[in-house]
């Protein structure tokens, strides 16, 4: 909703619905959209906290730190953070910035799930992942060029019940053995963004 410079009201004028809608309804709507800081977390490949089993492999490509995900064995990367308390239950979007190690065609299937760690309630010794969200995207037309794949989570159980102010982890995996994952060679994960939708 676009912002309109607030009008100056004049004594004795006839105030119409159109004026109210533009200067009150629409401006308040615009402020609402902008007012809160939508959470936005960015992780580089170097932020990975590798799991004990089947971790993605850290590598460099032209000095860019990356995580290599095999095209056969399912491998994982983990990223940690806190969801800002300004989260307004709008659901989450995860963006994966990745490229093919060598391929120039075919698709990769990414699986992403979320671990919500609520204060005063959740036992950190037990991990409960949200339902997995998946996205299958075709690699860039040239190896070395990035693709941004997007996954969305509706607020609630789909994101593990994560709330503003909670600690969280995001787990990224490539399901190389899935039927939709047809790209040969490694998929190289560059960056991950978690933000309110």
């Amino acid at each position: 909703m676009a912002w309109t410079t607030p009008r100056t009201w004049v004594t004795a004028e006839v105030v119409t619905a159109s004026v109210f809608n533009t200067h009150i309804r629409d401006n308040l709507e615009d402020l609402f959209d902008r007012a809160h800081t939508k959470p936005n977390l960015t992780w580089l490949a170097t932020s990975n906290e590798p799991p004990a089993v089947d971790p993605a492999t850290p590598v460099f490509r032209n000095t860019h730190p990356l995580l290599n995900f095999d095209d056969a064995t399912k491998e994982y990367a983990l990223f940690s953070g806190v969801l800002a308390p300004t989260y307004t239950n709008g659901g989450l979007t995860v963006e994966l910035h990745w490229m093919a190690a060598t391929a120039t065609t075919n698709a990769v299937k990414w699986d992403v799930d979320i671990d919500a760690i609520a204060s005063e309630g959740h036992d950190i010794d037990r991990t409960t992942w949200s339902p997995v969200q998946t996205v299958t995207d075709t690699c860039a037309s040239a190896s070395g060029e990035l693709i941004m794949s997007t996954l969305t989570y509706t607020h609630g159980a789909a994101m593990g019940g994560l709330l503003g102010g909670d600690m969280c982890r995001v787990r990224v995996a490539r399901d190389g053995s899935a039927s939709g994952d047809t790209m040969s060679g490694d998929a190289q994960l560059y960056k991950v963004v978690l933000r309110e939708t």
Partner: protein
């Protein structure tokens, strides 16, 4: 006070006090309370800078990176950043996400101190942390349950007068010598958050 979806005004409406109070007054109050909540910084255990002795110990718990603060003498974790320009001078809130390493009872005395780096004034060759703020927190019902302890620190001397846009360090400590620190064993710190109060 919750946000009320905005009404669409219609010609011929009788604009009532109730409508203006809900759509204009209450929604503006909601916006006023939220528009300044833009500052939110998260520090993971990996971000710690430990120049001080004795050093806090890095470790893991169920794959989660954490820092171990012992019960015999005071140890510190130091984090470094820049205070965003969004800071409006309302003071800062520092939140620690922690749990005891072992089951038990008692209280931990946490401390927080800021060191501002004012341009062309503060010399980084020597430390200049402000006065420490101490908050005590009782262990959760069970080891592994995350507790969130909060320091509310007023603008000015309490945060060493860090200003928007300034470099700063934040030193978190467990004051194991404090009269109220009687929890046996390590306290494990998982996240530190700095946000506007």
């Amino acid at each position: 006070m919750p946000w009320t979806p905005l009404r669409t005004w219609t010609d011929g409406d009788q604009v009532t006090a109730a409508a203006l109070n809900t759509d204009v007054r209450d929604n503006m109050v909601w916006l006023d309370n939220r528009v300044d909540q833009r500052l939110f910084q998260v520090f993971l255990p990996q971000a710690v800078q430990s120049p001080f002795s004795p050093k806090v110990l890095p470790g893991r718990r169920n794959g989660h990176a954490c820092l171990f603060f012992q019960d015999e003498f005071t140890t510190y974790a130091v984090y470094s950043s820049v205070l965003p320009l969004a800071y409006t001078g309302s003071g800062l809130v520092v939140e620690l996400y922690w749990t005891p390493a072992d089951a038990g009872t008692g209280t931990v005395a946490w401390t927080a101190e800021f060191e501002s780096h004012t341009e062309d004034v503060d010399n980084l060759a020597s430390d200049s942390f402000g006065a420490a703020t101490t908050v005590t927190d009782t262990v959760p019902l069970q080891s592994g349950i995350i507790k969130r302890v909060r320091f509310v620190m007023a603008d000015g001397a309490a945060i060493d007068s860090v200003a928007a846009g300034e470099s700063y360090r934040l030193r978190i400590g467990r004051d194991a010598d404090h009269a109220e620190d009687d929890m046996a064993g390590y306290a494990q710190l998982f996240r530190v958050v700095v946000r506007e109060g």
